[in-house]
């Protein structure tokens, strides 16, 4: 067993363990932190595959941005753990049974191909994963790339549409309106007949 194999198994084991803990942990903050752990180990696995760009992006985007936001949300919300875990024990046997069967079936199928999977050719020393990605991203995959951009745009539109709300009762000032106001808008001259002397 080469050294890289050892590294792979260690990180893979940690990753699986972290994944299990994400769903079995009692405290949601712990779950989130285990998810961070899972991301880290996965990015280590990508490094083993010489996919440096993806490994770094995973850590930067998911760990650095997404999970931090996620932790904020989890900590700010008062989540009732008891009600969340209700029925967990009841559904557990069925879940384990179904999951177990799927795992067994997957092993049956995937193990059959494991032996004859050819090893990829070793990359030359000058190989750069980032460069390779950049090379195809704007050429071969320009169309999916553009679509992905549109999806992000839709996500922005969606987020704004669903969250931006103008409450009718809020009190705020509009300086532009204040400046543009005319005398007629504010002052009304009323002609009042003078009261007759008593």
């Amino acid at each position: 067993m080469a050294f890289t194999d050892l590294v792979f198994y260690v990180f893979a084991a940690i990753s699986v363990f972290a994944g299990v803990r994400v769903i079995s942990s009692r405290n949601p903050v712990h779950s989130a932190l285990y998810l961070v752990l899972a991301f880290f180990t996965t990015s280590a696995l990508w490094l083993l595959l010489e996919a440096e760009f993806l490994a770094i992006t995973l850590v930067l985007v998911y760990v650095g941005a997404v999970m931090v936001l996620f932790l904020f949300v989890v900590m700010m919300l008062d989540i009732n753990l008891v009600s969340l875990r209700e029925g967990f024990a009841r559904y557990l046997p069925v879940g384990i049974a179904v999951g177990g069967i799927i795992v067994i079936e997957m092993i049956m199928v995937l193990s059959a191909r494991y032996g004859d999977m050819p090893k990829p050719a070793p990359h030359p020393a000058s190989y750069s994963n980032t460069e390779e990605l950049g090379g195809v991203l704007y050429t071969v995959y320009v169309y999916p790339f553009e679509i992905a951009a549109v999806i992000l745009l839709v996500a922005i539109v969606a987020a704004i549409t669903l969250t931006l709300r103008r409450r009718p009762g809020t009190k705020h000032q509009d300086p532009a309106k204040q400046v543009a106001v005319k005398r007629e808008d504010r002052v009304r001259l009323v002609k009042v007949p003078s009261e007759p002397r008593q």
Partner: protein, 675 residues
């Protein structure tokens, strides 16, 4: 005669003949509000006039210019296992004769209707919606009828024949029950429809037998193949061999019995007089009821191959001619007398068919169409004048009030009884002579019937004539005060119809009856051809008249007229004496031999009882209760149970997806892996 055999008939002309009345019917029927009353009668009359004029040109082309007959498909509706269902025309001299007669009578009736239906709103309840556009609707119906009848006679295949057959039946149903708020009218049209169903069932079986044995519906193909089938037999009941052509012939004739009102399926025709009089003239005297006669003549290549079928036709016709004539003697309703006379005359035509004298049958059909339409319209004219009173006991002495109606009626009656020189004489004498020459089974019975029938015909015709136009004026004072001749739209058709009633026979007897007018349109086997034997002794129409003056029928007819005069004019008390002395006979006749009671009791009540039983037990309990509602309840119950799977919980849904995935995996991948 200019012979140009290459001349052909135009398909477009034939299509126009058929479609012009249809177009009129559609416009008058669907746009009745928009075009109003005048619009409705103009558009339909224009349509029928077009048809009539074009029919005349076709007649001229075929008869005088020697054009070849037209036999072609216009439109193929569908092809099923090699059998074509088509719309096509077969126009030869037989067809064109019918076309001309139908369109001419129809045209007369259209014009006459303007007068007859002018005050139709009085016949309706004020609140009745059907009464709002009854005038337009009526014109639409009669035009539609003309279209249907033309489709029938011009067909070149059995499918179209059946279409026309049923279409005229439907329109007849609509028209008999035209005054749909009258219970008697509804009863009558239902009766007509049901009785015709019986006939049509036989007809349909006949067409099915043709299709089964010939594998074609086209006339030409069937007729060409018929001689090869002459000895074919088949078994309906095991062990009993029936001649195929006899079965086909008799089944088709059952259809003709329904439509042409032959005993015992004649019961609907007298009741159909509930319809407006123009209809009685057009449909129930001149055209539709002759469809059966025409059909048998058209099928002559089949009938000639089966003496059994011919005998059946002959005997049924003879019975009808004699017994329905007798019924005419006891009727009081003026239209019913004419109706029974129609039945009797249809019997004459059927007898002629049975005696293989097809051309005599068609000849009588033609002359009868004119004088019977005339008599009906004259009766209608009387009815208009009498303010829709139809009972002859309340008439009398109308001669001085209605001279035109009187004289045209006299001409029509003389034609009907076969007075020498009138058109009815030639056709009726031709039939009697042809039966005399026939040798098939039943011909002697038929000869007796048609000869005795002459006396009866004369008796009831002039009984009616004298009762209506002569003698005491028995109507009430109010009616008498308003009596006057009917307007020109009524009298002009009467006069126009009177002309052919008188002279047509004289000019056409030679070619139609004894000449080669029909050519190959009608086929008569040499052994049956009585007319040919008569033709050898035929020396012009005058000779025929002279010969007729010396024959038995003439003296019988004269005796009938005299008897009528004696009983109803000279000694009216004799009629009452007869009624007392022969009360049994009178009662039998009053009850119309009990056909109606029998039908009502046995078929009417019987089928209602059976239907009720099947409904209560079969339908309500077994089918509705167990099969329909039971299965529906089961599914409904299952559905309410299953819907609870849809809990609304997200994790249940997700879990269902995982289960689905598991099923797919286990169902497909694992077995595939093991294999």
């Amino acid at each position: 005669m200019d012979m140009t055999p290459n001349m052909t008939l135009s398909e477009n002309v034939l299509l126009s003949i058929v479609l012009a009345p249809l177009a009129g019917a559609i416009v008058a029927g669907l746009f009745s509000k928009a075009i109003g009353r005048a619009g409705a009668h103009w558009v339909t009359i224009l349509g029928v006039l077009t048809s009539f004029l074009l029919s005349l040109t076709v007649f001229k082309a075929l008869v005088f210019d020697g054009a070849a007959k037209f036999d072609a498909t216009v439109y193929t509706w569908l092809v099923s296992e090699g059998v074509k269902f088509e719309v096509g025309f077969l126009v030869d001299k037989l067809t064109v004769l019918m076309m001309t007669v139908v369109t001419f009578v129809s045209l007369m009736v259209h014009i006459y209707t303007i007068g007859y239906m002018a005050d139709d709103e009085h016949n309706w309840d004020e609140k009745s919606l059907a009464g709002k556009n009854s005038y337009q609707r009526f014109f639409s119906y009669i035009s539609l009828f003309t279209f249907s009848m033309l489709m029938l006679v011009m067909a070149n295949n059995f499918m179209q024949l059946f279409f026309g057959w049923e279409a005229v039946g439907v329109v007849s149903y609509l028209l008999i029950g035209f005054w749909s708020t009258r219970e008697t009218a509804i009863y009558a049209n239902l009766k007509a429809f049901l009785v015709n169903r019986v006939g049509d069932f036989g007809f349909l079986l006949g067409i099915a037998a043709v299709l089964m044995s010939f594998n074609s519906l086209n006339y030409a193909e069937v007729f060409a193949a018929a001689p090869r089938m002459a000895d074919a037999t088949f078994q309906v009941f095991p062990g009993v061999d029936w001649s195929l052509l006899s079965v086909i012939g008799i089944l088709l004739f059952v259809g003709a019995m329904g439509k042409s009102a032959q005993m015992p399926l004649h019961v609907w025709l007298p009741d159909s007089m509930e319809g407006p009089t123009p209809i009685s003239a057009l449909i129930h005297a001149a055209t539709m009821v002759t469809a059966g006669i025409f059909m048998v003549a058209r099928m002559s290549p089949i009938y000639e191959l089966s003496e059994t079928a011919l005998s059946v036709v002959l005997v049924i016709g003879a019975l009808t001619a004699f017994f329905t004539g007798l019924l005419g003697l006891v009727q009081h309703d003026i239209k019913r007398v004419v109706a029974y006379s129609t039945l009797s005359q249809l019997g004459y035509m059927t007898v002629a068919l049975g005696a293989s004298a097809y051309s005599a049958a068609i000849f009588h059909l033609m002359t009868h169409a004119f004088f019977k339409a005339l008599l009906f319209l004259a009766a209608g004219s009387v009815i208009i004048a009498m303010h829709h009173e139809q009972d002859m006991r309340k008439m009398g002495g109308l001669k001085k009030y209605m001279p035109i109606t009187y004289w045209t009626s006299l001409l029509g009656s003389l034609a009907l009884i076969g007075f020498p020189g009138f058109s009815g004489f030639f056709s009726k004498d031709g039939i009697i002579e042809a039966v005399h020459h026939s040798h098939i089974a039943g011909s002697s019975l038929a000869y007796f019937s048609v000869t005795a029938g002459v006396f009866i015909t004369a008796l009831y015709s002039f009984r009616m004539f004298f009762l209506v136009f002569h003698g005491q004026e028995r109507m009430d004072e109010h009616t008498r005060h308003h009596l006057h001749e009917t307007p020109a739209v009524v009298t002009v058709p009467l006069m126009l119809l009177a002309i052919p009633s008188v002279i047509l026979g004289f000019f056409t007897v030679g070619p139609v009856l004894f000449g080669d007018y029909f050519g190959d349109a009608i086929y008569v086997a040499a052994a049956h051809d009585g007319l040919a034997v008569m033709g050898e002794h035929f020396h012009g129409a005058f000779g025929f008249i002279l010969h007729g003056m010396m024959g038995l029928p003439f003296w019988l007819a004269s005796a009938g007229v005299f008897t009528a005069w004696f009983i109803y004019m000279k000694r009216p008390d004799i009629a009452d004496v007869f009624q007392d002395k022969l009360s049994v006979v009178h009662r039998i006749l009053e009850n119309k031999y009990g056909f109606d009671d029998f039908n009502q009791k046995v078929f009417g009540d019987g089928s209602r009882g059976l239907g009720g039983l099947l409904w209560q037990v079969g339908d309500v309990k077994v089918i509705d209760g167990a099969a329909v509602n039971g299965s529906a309840r089961l599914v409904g119950w299952f559905s309410t149970v299953v819907r609870h799977i849809q809990t609304g919980y997200l994790y249940h849904y997700a879990f269902a997806m995982i289960i689905g995935l598991l099923v797919l995996l286990s169902w497909v991948v694992v077995p595939g892996f093991v294999r």
